[in-house]
């Protein structure tokens, strides 16, 4: 297993290198550069522009610049953003937690909602309920994402005013925030507590796997509810509760939209694989053993049906991050996606490359983690 992980990490490094080289040269092939921004300024002379280009190193050939960038990156220096005049690393470290927290939460919710509904669908096959949910699911599966997101903002943000529009916090509230408190700290702490909760739940799941199904599910549900209560309690009691709440409140609508758009793929796939699994002989054997239907469904059918669903989640991870650019833009969520978009339209090459570095590394690491998790789900998989 360790050897496998080491191998995969090496692969990740190679993939990233190829990926950076490609993006760098494609970016360079774009006409114009950052200095074009000043072209409309009459005081900006041709000589000044050349001087600026020289200062930014834009007069050197692309491959020289690429290897320079690569060398600096390996030393941990991502350069300075042209737009923000700050180290790229600072800009990105500030924005990454927002993206990770939003998409991690949305993906988890999406996956469990889709999986749970798919299970119900398979079990209710042939009923009006199945038909209704399938039609609704197919709608969300095919809907045009930006249009749908805008409609949701219009309806819930603008007309009904249930949720705030745009940004990830309320500026007037944060102006009064205690000195030294930044939104980032909250994001990072939220991420940490969520990870702790997730680890605790996995441990409980693992410890209860041999128990009889009723007791196991009792333990699991109490762990879930208890764990969630502790987390909520911890945050409610903390002095920054209202700031955390502000962030979560701003996050609600993007999460709802992301969940609605993505759950149906998981749901429809779960339904199909579940129906296939139900035809397996071991399901018949489970019934023959006298196990109640609920146990046959949850412990045997669903447990096996989750495998291909999880695989598809692994494969879709990079697309979730890619689609994040659209979501972040529509919701003005200043995360990695939006940063990448503005940086590439303005020709802020260091920031573009930095964003790609973050997004690419995140996607590949998530992929690796998911692959390792899969080995625990399916005993037939052995990484050697």
């Amino acid at each position: 297993m360790l050897k496998y992980i080491a191998n995969r990490l090496l692969q990740i490094v190679v993939t990233l290198f190829v990926f950076f080289a490609l993006t760098y040269f494609i970016l360079d092939a774009q006409p114009g550069d950052i200095t074009l921004q000043y072209v409309n300024n009459p005081k900006f002379t041709k000589e000044q522009r050349e001087a600026l280009r020289r200062r930014l190193g834009l007069d050197k050939p692309a491959y020289v610049r690429f290897f320079q960038w690569m060398g600096n990156t390996l030393r941990g220096d991502l350069g300075e953003s042209y737009q923000y005049r700050k180290p790229v690393m600072d800009v990105l470290l500030e924005r990454a937690p927002r993206t990770i927290f939003l998409f991690l939460t949305a993906t988890l919710i999406e996956f469990f909602v889709g999986y749970w509904l798919g299970r119900v669908l398979a079990w209710q096959r042939g009923t009006g309920l199945e038909y209704g949910i399938t039609v609704v699911g197919a709608f969300f599966y095919t809907v045009f994402t930006p249009w749908f997101a805008l409609m949701m903002i219009y309806l819930f943000g603008f007309t009904l005013k249930w949720f705030p529009i745009g940004k990830f916090l309320d500026v007037t509230l944060w102006r009064a925030a205690p000195k030294g408190l930044t939104a980032n700290q909250i994001f990072i702490n939220l991420l940490l507590t969520m990870t702790l909760l997730a680890v605790a739940l996995v441990v409980v799941y693992y410890l209860t796997r041999r128990m009889n199904p009723y007791r196991a599910s009792l333990f699991r549900w109490s762990a879930l509810i208890g764990g969630a209560a502790i987390v909520v309690g911890y945050w409610a009691a903390s002095p920054v509760a209202k700031y955390a709440w502000d962030i979560l409140y701003h996050m609600a609508l993007p999460i709802i939209v992301l969940t609605l758009i993505n759950f149906s793929g998981t749901m429809l796939l779960t339904r199909t694989t579940m129906l296939e699994t139900l035809r397996e002989d071991y399901i018949m054997a489970a019934r023959a053993k006298g196990l109640p239907e609920r146990v046959v469904r949850d412990k045997h059918a669903a447990r096996n049906a989750v495998l291909p669903v999880f695989t598809s989640l692994i494969i879709s991870l990079p697309f979730i991050l890619g689609g994040g650019i659209i979501t972040e833009t529509v919701f003005s969520w200043e995360g990695l996606g939006l940063t990448l978009l503005t940086a590439s339209t303005t020709g802020d090459i260091p920031l573009v490359m930095g964003s790609f570095l973050f997004i690419g590394t995140l996607a590949l690491l998530a992929h690796l983690v998911a692959d390792i998790a899969y080995a625990f789900l399916d005993p037939r998989i052995r990484y050697a």
Partner: protein
Amino acid sequence: MAEKPLLSVRNLTMIYKTRKGPVSAIDDVSFDLKRGESLGLVGESGCGKTSVAMALLRLLPDNAQITGGQILLDGMDLTTLSEEEMQNVRWKRISMVFQAAMNALDPVYKVGDQIIEAIERHERDIDPAEARKRVEALFHLVGIDPKMADRYPHEFSGGMRQRAIIAMALACNPDLIIADEPTTALDVIVQDQVLRELRQVQKQMGMSMIYISHDIAVIAEVAERIAIMYAGRLCELADAVEIFKRPRHPYTVALMSAFPSIVGEKRPLVALGGEPPDLLFPPPGCRFHPRCPRALDICKQQQPPFEDIGGGHYLACWNPAPVAEVQS
């Protein structure tokens, strides 16, 4: 006979509802099974053997419907039990070795745990250590290293999986085990071994057994009594020796002739033309008449009754083969 049978199937009739109409998979099937007895159920592919097995456990697909008859287990009619009551009968009273036993183990759980699952289902208060001990004893009995209990199904060979399934079928010490083509997926040598072991264990533990196979040679080795099934109906049922020595139904005669005699007698080979009927449109009268060399007019119109012709030899035929013909 004074002894009450363990299982008594009375005029069982079952159909599969399909878009094209009802498939008459079991029609008016009756037989008794005593405690400790082993019965073989033989017939061509598609004649309804698995359907009978599944009907006994009431594990039929959604489109199946038992339209008549009774399944009496110690006098209790299984066809009238609720689903919950039936769940208590499954595995505790009647267990099964599946036709596709190779895939009857859930790939994501350890084999031992799957057997313990069955034990704990029916003996709620059992101590986990004791259940575990029983699994190891069962593995020992069927000839698998007890350590294998902690392995996953994919780490088992075909023969070992089959043995594990047999161990699982024995786990709750049931009154009846149904073995549906338990060895078809195995190679011939392992087949023989497993079958003999199964028979031995069954005798040792004194449980009843129904062996199902399309191969009468396989059945001959393990069954005390043999029932011959054709197109959803039983045509003949008798002691194994009787069936081999004095088959009366023309279909049985044809089956026997295709099988080299165990007692060394020469038999004329009876070629059986045609195909078994489509159970969507079973022929009227005796279902075998279109292929029967001895068919009379009455066979085309009236279903022959399935009756005892003496000494527990049951037969459904208007024009049975004479006893002498096969003994020549």
